[in-house]
Symmetry: C2
Subunit: 304 residues, 2 copies
């Protein structure tokens, strides 16, 4: 059992989907990731919030024993994302990204974070991703996520991060956009040429694919969800379940195996399928170990 | 080992895709189906062609010991379909459907066809599907396919066929259109409410899902194909591999089990992934048993 360090956003999101809308509700990549990962392993958060961040929103993570020693609270407003999903629930349309306190965030890792083995650079400014990674002494396994916002605005920085990580998580549309191909198979292979040993492409209702040059493809379907309420946070929940599972399966200096990665992808799939069934983190927060085990059993039944 | 009866089109297709185009090249649902199914089991064809149908195009099936006793050759022109695929390779846009000799086709099963156990009603006029089925004495397991053309023009007839078959194959877009939902999970469940015990929804590059009320979902990913040349016939190749495999796995009066269906879906996936790598039947005709086994091994590696 190892600990997982995550840097990412803690946010208030305004989201509109065909099922309705949620105004300024709890979100952010680090929040979804930590809640999912903490089912399996200890989690340490690096991030920043404004003075408007509500104490009960911190409690959600503290109740899961997530360490918030690396969470700064500074004057100003918490990060705010506003987006909408239309018929294609696999792809968010960003209406507004207000960096707020993230605009001048200077991440400084607490001493006891610096020996972290598993590091996840969730979807934030790639410059911040690099700053955090440089403060971890000997990371064993590093992952990252990103999104179209950074692909468009900071692609050079982003590609620097790609070269420093073991695994990259991307939505399929973003992988195609970044590597300029219409073909999903070429997209995932092209992303792997940019540096990472492993690439996970997330395809929403069509599941996820892991690829590595050494091992080829592994495919996980999504769990069937008849009523997708809000896809926000699905990718971060996936990555959280994935990294939490990796950390729980390995010990000492052992690097995750291909089998570990496959199990991790199943766990990620279970958690993302729960997140999307309600707005904000309302569905994910209800998932406990027995519920997780039961959904995992269902997922395995669909592929065995 | 049982025999498989198929009724469907033998056609000359004109197809345009991002990779190029093929004019009046061999196609038709019964052709793709038979070529795929004949890798595993004896196949009997019911259909009609015009005087323009080339002898060497019959040879392709005869070389695989497919029985063409139920294939009529009549005055007039062979069925012609013209279509195009644009960025979304999962969905054909039909430009022209010339029924030609199919317009007055009156299927009459040879006596020795009437005891067929496995019957596949490929994508043709639902009235013809019903006429053929009524001539089979005691079918053990009946499948059907259809497409938007018949959903739009003959939906009442089509729904009559749904009530008489064990398994329906549909593209995801067509299943959603027929059942008027945007959600793929609801679509497959809704189709199963229309009569069939099993439903297979084909999702192109995202694989296929089998659903039954009794057994739930089974999910097969597609094999990775980096260069999709022409998706025409993918669904019929899938169904052919599927039904051929079912027929090869069962004996006497044994109805296929859920496990048989899962194996069948893997075989169908392998064959459809080959068909799409060239125009017309050029790629599918090259698939022999050793090539099939090797691709099946690759597919199993992606899900185990």
């Amino acid at each position: 059992m190892r600990e997982v360090l995550v840097v990412g956003s803690l946010a208030y999101d305004s989201v509109k989907t065909p099922s309705g809308k949620a105004e300024k509700s709890l979100g952010g990549s680090a929040n979804y990731f930590s809640l999912a990962a903490s089912l399996f392993a200890p989690v340490r958060v690096v991030g920043v919030v404004g003075e408007d961040y509500q104490p009960q929103d911190k409690e959600i993570l503290l109740n899961r024993k997530v360490c918030l020693d690396g969470l700064q609270t500074v004057p100003g407003k918490t990060f705010h994302w506003e987006g909408t999903y239309e018929h294609n629930l696999n792809e968010a349309v960003t209406l507004k990204t207000e960096l707020n306190v993230f605009a001048h965030f200077n991440p400084k890792l607490p001493n006891h974070y610096q020996d972290s083995s598993y590091v996840f650079l969730a979807n934030i400014d790639p410059t911040l991703q690099l700053e955090v990674l440089s403060q971890v002494k000997k990371p064993l396994f590093v992952g990252m996520d990103s999104m179209n916002f950074w692909i468009n605005s900071k692609q050079d920085e982003l590609l620097k991060v790609f070269k420093k990580v073991d695994i990259v998580f991307m939505n399929e549309a973003e992988a195609k956009m970044l590597t300029q191909t219409d073909n999903g198979v070429r997209a995932i292979k092209n992303v792997s040429e940019l540096g990472p040993k492993y690439v996970v492409v997330k395809k929403g209702e069509y599941g996820a694919t892991i690829y590595s040059k050494a091992h080829g493809f592994y495919q996980v379907p999504a769990l069937p969800v008849e009523n997708v309420v809000d896809p926000t946070g699905a990718g971060d929940s996936f990555a959280g379940g994935f990294f939490g599972t990796l950390a729980s399966r390995t010990s000492s200096s052992e690097v995750p195996s291909w089998t570990d990665l496959k199990q991790a992808a199943l766990a990620g799939t279970v958690l993302s399928s729960q997140t999307i069934q309600d707005f904000s983190m309302k569905a994910l927060v209800k998932v406990d170990k027995p519920a997780f085990d039961s959904h995992l059993h269902q997922l395995k039944g669909m592929i065995n």
